[in-house]
Structure formats: structure tokens, C-alpha cells
Symmetry: C2
Subunit: 199 residues, 2 copies
């Protein structure tokens, strides 16, 4: 409906998650009228993230180096691993200050409808980490929804055969929601009250 | 909270209108995980809009040329000008197919609290267009809210002294809303029922 470049921008913005046609239009006009320096910074931020940010080769968290800042930190307990779905969840757990171990980011949850099975997640990498014998406990902190529960059950059954303690976050998290939206107190309590994964 | 580049992207996205901290984080992670080609297209779309899109020197509508596609179109009636706040409003009026004249985009509405007075709007440019005597009617189509009404009253009083017919869109538009969100039928009826600006 608009002339070339404006409509192309509206189309591109409309492909972003949670951005509908009206929001895309509003954002496009904001960009059009904004200070060119501000928009150069936005473009540079997108480009830099795409060029520089990668995933930690050990845990899968986002990082600009080979290892993420948590895997690089010698003060973090290497005997406990908290398994989460996404990098955002690492930050949510860090905010609780309840956990001093390390992480493993799966990159999602089992979701047959979306075609995501265990082989699409970073589960093989998790098993590799267990090989050196330093890990004594795995805390499963997937989202408390259908996909997260399915993933947790899958992991718990698989890890039980290896003979490692596997725990899950305690109830206290609102069921059906996303881990990343839990407040610090709730998430901290859930950490403290974690339970055996097959109970 | 995140490492450098990711946090910078979240900060930049959070400065966009209607994007809160959680949305900014979600968008940043979407960008991080998206196909690099898709993100190159988004960056190119932003850059192209900032480089190529400007404002029509006659009416102030967005364009990639000296004049916008409506001002360039010889079939559009040059004797009637529809005055709107923003370029988005031009598109909303166009969708009604009720109007075959030309436009004048003010670039906003009078809003003393935000420091926007008549001198910040493209009112001087509107007066310049009236100089050649071809214009017989001005239809004021500002938003039906406080700022839009104030702008309409200001324009109507100013233009009345020049002796040009000044009309306003009819009631039918929901009061307190934004013109761009009106459906085509409502906006079309409002065009047909426009009334004298000082009644």
C-alpha cells in the first residue's frame, strides 16, 4: 500500500514475533522519523549481534567468546548443572541468586507438533559433559508447561540410568506459564524445594 | 545483565515505541536465533528507509522522490486538499476511496504539553499552497481527539480569514481514538458528512 521502501520495512517488521500489521506500521514510521544516529545504532546493534554473538561450546548459553561468562567463572560449582530451555532462562535463574552451579541450555523443549524431538535439543552435548564424572546433580529447570514437563520427564528417565541425582524445581512456579516470567522470590523458592524427578 | 552485544540490542529495541523490556528481550533473542539472511533483509530495509525515503516537498507525505505519488498524479483534483496529521492517515483516507483530491500532512497535532505548537507543524507550507488560487476547499481530517480538535479549530479560524471553504470530517468517527484505526465504511461516511469548521 505504501511506496516501495516503506512497505518493505513494514513487511520485514511484521515478520518479527509479536509484531502485528498495525505495530509494524507504527514502528516503520517511528524509524522513518527517528534521528538517523539512533537508527544507525539500532542497525549496528542487530549487525553486531549477528556477527559476534554465538553459543557457548560447553553449555549453549549466548556468548561473544568460546565459552560463556558462567562456564569461564572458576567460582561456579562444576558438580551441579541446571538444565534450562533458553538463554533467557539462565538470566532468570541468575536473578534469584539461589544457584551457584553451571548451566546447560537445551535450545528449546520437546514439542512433537512443532517437529522438535530430543535429537533437535542439545541433549547429546549434555551427555558428553557427564563423561568426566565431575557432575553429581542435574537440576531440571524447564518451563512448567506441557512441553517443558515432557522434556523434564524424558531427561529424568534417561539420566536416571546413568546414576546421577536428578532433581526438578519445586512446585511454586505457576503452571502453564513461562519460567522467564516468574518473579525472583517464586523462582528462588522453587529452587530450594526441588524434588526427585521421578516422583 | 547480558553480555555486551545482546544487552546493547535489548536496550536499542527497548527504545522503540510500544516495546517494553520483556518484548525487547524476546525480539533480541529472535534476532539472535533468526536466519542471518532474514536479519540482513531487516537491516537493509531500515537502512534503505533512512537513506531513500523523504517527505514530499509539496504535501509532506512520505516518498522516495521529490513529489509523492499523489502529488505526481495528474488525475487527482488539485482544488481540494485534505489536511491530515500523519502519512499513515493519508493511507487510511485512501482506503475509503471517498476522496480524489490531494493531501497536506501536518506532521502532528498541536499539543502544548509535548511542546508542539502551530509553528512545529507544516502550516506555513499549507498557506504557501493556497497562494496560487487553485484551491477551493480544505477538508480538515485531523484525529478526533483533543489535540486533533485543537489543531482543526486553529486551522479553521486561520483559513476562514482567507475566504476558502473549510470543512471537517463528519461525526461518525469514534471520539478519543485515532483516525488511522477507523474502518473504511465509518471513515467514508465521515467524509460524505463533513460539516462547516466553525459550527
Amino acid at each position: 500500500m505504501y511506496e516501495g521502501a516503506v512497505q518493505e520495512l513494514i513487511d520485514e517488521l511484521g515478520r518479527l514475533p509479536g509484531v502485528g500489521p498495525k505495530s509494524a506500521q507504527r514502528l516503520a514510521f517511528h524509524i522513518l522519523e527517528a534521528d538517523p544516529e539512533d537508527m544507525k545504532r539500532l542497525v549496528a546493534a542487530i549487525t553486531t549481534v549477528k556477527e559476534r554473538v554465538k553459543f557457548c561450546t560447553v553449555c549453549g548459553n549466548v556468548t561473544e567468546q568460546e565459552l560463556c561468562n558462567i562456564c569461564r567463572d572458576p567460582r561456579r560449582d562444576p558438580s551441579v548443572i541446571c538444565v534450562v530451555e533458553e538463554s533467557k532462562d539462565v538470566l532468570a535463574v541468575e536473578r534469584t541468586r539461589s544457584f551457584r552451579g553451571r548451566y546447560h541450555v537445551l535450545g528449546g523443549a520437546i514439542n512433537p507438533i512443532a517437529g522438535i524431538g530430543p535429537e533437535q535439543l542439545r541433549i547429546r552435548e549434555l551427555l558428553t559433559r557427564l563423561n568426566d564424572g565431575a557432575i553429581q546433580e542435574i537440576i531440571i529447570a524447564t518451563d512448567p508447561n506441557l512441553e517443558g514437563e515432557a522434556t523434564a520427564t524424558y531427561l529424568a528417565r534417561m539420566l536416571k540410568s546413568i546414576g546421577i541425582t536428578v532433581t526438578r524445581l519445586a512446585s511454586g512456579l505457576p503452571v502453564g506459564g513461562d519460567l522467564e516470567y516468574a518473579d525472583e522470590v517464586t523462582l528462588g523458592r522453587a529452587f530450594e524445594g526441588r524434588r526427585n524427578a521421578l516422583m
